[in-house]
């Protein structure tokens, strides 16, 4: 049965690939969301990890609280919260007769033509912004835990040696702990780097047209459900394989000789 169906599936996939302009725009949007979320997550996550580890009583508790809250609640719930929060605030403001926050209706985008098809790429509009922020703030919590693990693995002796030379804790953390922790974190951190492209699909629910939304669009036009999802799955597989391989190379290149 399956073998007999296969030629048909190949045809379907080719038809889905006929929407290459849509898929390309969707892929670009997915990677755009991924890049910003990973970047925001990296810097905020690193800050959270440092605060949790070295921040003293108050700051380390705030950091821990943030990490547990973000890891303990569904990403989709966070997305909806960030999406609806401005509207809720506005209705409160409106009830008080106060000026309210302008939400949608703006966008930065560019349009180009490739092989006779016109492609419009939205860099940022209000739903993209909310998507990026939610993914970044969520990823930060996970990345923070990877960073904390690697910071702890460096050991207290290194910071004590730095302090015994007269370095402040801050200098010790930046010149001694982080250079080692960031090398050590790569294998574990590559988990987050490989998960995050897949998590970006949730922004489909607030209307961001990334790869998954484009698949829906193609399905609504062609009804080729299986073929469309196969194409999307293969695209994700390729992206994530490339990310993993890339990070493997970075890990080997940055390895400390002799260790």
């Amino acid at each position: 049965m399956i073998l007999q169906e296969l030629p048909e599936l190949v045809d379907d996939i080719l038809r889905v690939l006929g929407f290459w302009d849509q898929l390309l725009i969707g892929l670009a949007k997915t990677m755009w969301l991924y890049m910003w979320a990973l970047l925001i997550g990296f810097f905020l996550g690193l800050l959270l990890a440092i605060l949790r580890q070295y921040g003293g009583r108050v700051l380390s508790r705030i950091s821990t609280g943030y990490i547990e809250l973000m890891r303990g609640t569904p990403l989709l719930a966070q997305l909806f919260l960030f999406y609806f929060l401005p509207y809720s605030i506005n209705s409160l403001l409106r009830a008080e007769g106060l000026p309210y926050i302008p939400i949608g209706g703006w966008a930065f985008y560019t349009t180009t033509e490739i092989f006779g098809r016109s492609l419009t790429f939205v860099f940022i509009d209000h739903i993209t912004l909310i998507g990026i922020l939610t993914l970044g703030l969520n990823s930060a919590a996970y990345q923070a835990e990877y960073f904390r693990g690697s910071i702890m693995s460096v050991g207290t002796g290194q910071l004590e040696a730095a302090q015994s030379l007269g370095m402040s804790r801050r200098k010790g953390i930046f010149h001694v702990i982080l250079p080692q922790a960031l090398r050590r974190v790569i294998p574990a951190w590559s988990n987050e780097a490989a998960y995050l492209p897949k998590y970006t699909v949730v922004v489909f629910y607030i209307g961001v047209t990334e790869l998954f939304a484009k698949a829906h669009h193609i399905i609504s036009e062609t009804f080729l459900t299986l073929a469309a999802y196969i194409v999307v799955a293969v695209i994700f597989l390729v992206i994530i394989t490339l990310i993993s391989k890339g990070l493997d190379i970075v890990h080997k290149r940055t390895a400390i000789p002799g260790l």
Binding site: A161, S164, G166, V176, Q180, I256, G258
Partner: protein, 264 residues
């Protein structure tokens, strides 16, 4: 006023406890310029804690530490600046694993003393030469033997030109055949006039350079005196027993080691 007669280090009635455990119970001693003080005693007696109190990595609960007359317990003191004047050599070397030997030595010169990259490099190489490690300047710690790592550790402390260097059992994590090279370097710098506080059980080293030896047990000073005093006429039974155990360990005694009872 009388700055030139000021002792390099004064430790006055230092107490330290970790939770319920009292580790130091009123330790006092002084150290003059170019003096070498050897501190020894059984494990868990508080020797390492004492060194960590001196450079304020674990500040004492009570008591005073003076470096060249300046109190380290005073609230307005810049501890980072003071620590730059107190070198420390660690039992487990604690070299910065991600840096080459030369960069391990120069990092303090650059990040603390603010020297330029070139100046720091020249000074670091000079320090490595003093510990006979200049040839290994471009090796990472993991590519060096324990003895070589410890010599880099000593160079790292020396390069800062500190007023005083603390040695925390610098040879006790080393294979026996590597101890000699580290002790030789320590002898060299001691004879060159470095002021040192050394926690060690190397009695040969102590005899060669110590101006005074202090025996500590359970957080108190049991006995103090010259190396000659300890080798000829130690008074306390505790010290005699300890020295005998060390002699046995080094094969200079007929008896066997007394092992503690299993249910101890």
């Amino acid at each position: 006023m009388e700055k030139k007669y000021e002792k390099v280090l004064k430790v006055v009635d230092v107490w330290k406890s970790y939770e319920d455990l009292e580790v130091l119970k009123g330790i006092s001693f002084e150290l003059g310029e170019q003096e070498v003080k050897v501190i020894f005693g059984p494990s868990g007696s508080g020797k390492s804690t004492l060194l960590r109190c001196i450079n304020m990595l674990s500040p004492p609960d009570k008591g005073e530490i003076f470096l060249s007359g300046q109190s380290l317990m005073a609230s307005e003191v810049d501890l980072n600046a003071m620590r730059a004047k107190i070198g420390m050599v660690f039992q487990h070397f604690n070299l910065f694993a991600h840096l080459k030997a030369i960069d391990n030595v120069s990092i303090g010169l650059r990040r603390v003393k603010g020297l330029s990259k070139e100046e720091a490099h020249i000074k670091a190489l000079e320090a490595l030469r003093r510990v006979k490690m200049a040839e290994w300047a471009n090796h990472y710690p993991a590519q060096l033997s324990g003895g070589q790592q410890q010599r880099v550790g000593i160079a790292r402390a020396l390069s800062m030109e500190p007023t005083l260097i603390l040695f925390d059992e610098p040879t006790s994590a080393l294979d026996p055949e590597l101890i000699g090279e580290v002790l030789q370097v320590m002898l060299d710098i001691a004879k060159a006039g470095t002021t040192m506080v050394v926690v060690t059980h190397e009695m040969g080293f102590a005899r060669a350079v110590a101006s005074e030896m202090i025996f500590i047990d359970k957080g108190v000073i049991i006995e103090r005196g010259t190396p000659k005093h300890f080798s000829t006429s130690p008074k306390s039974e505790r010290v005699k027993h300890f020295l005998k155990q060390i002699d046995i360990l080094y094969g200079r005694h007929e008896e066997l080691l007394e092992l503690p009872d299993e249910d101890d």
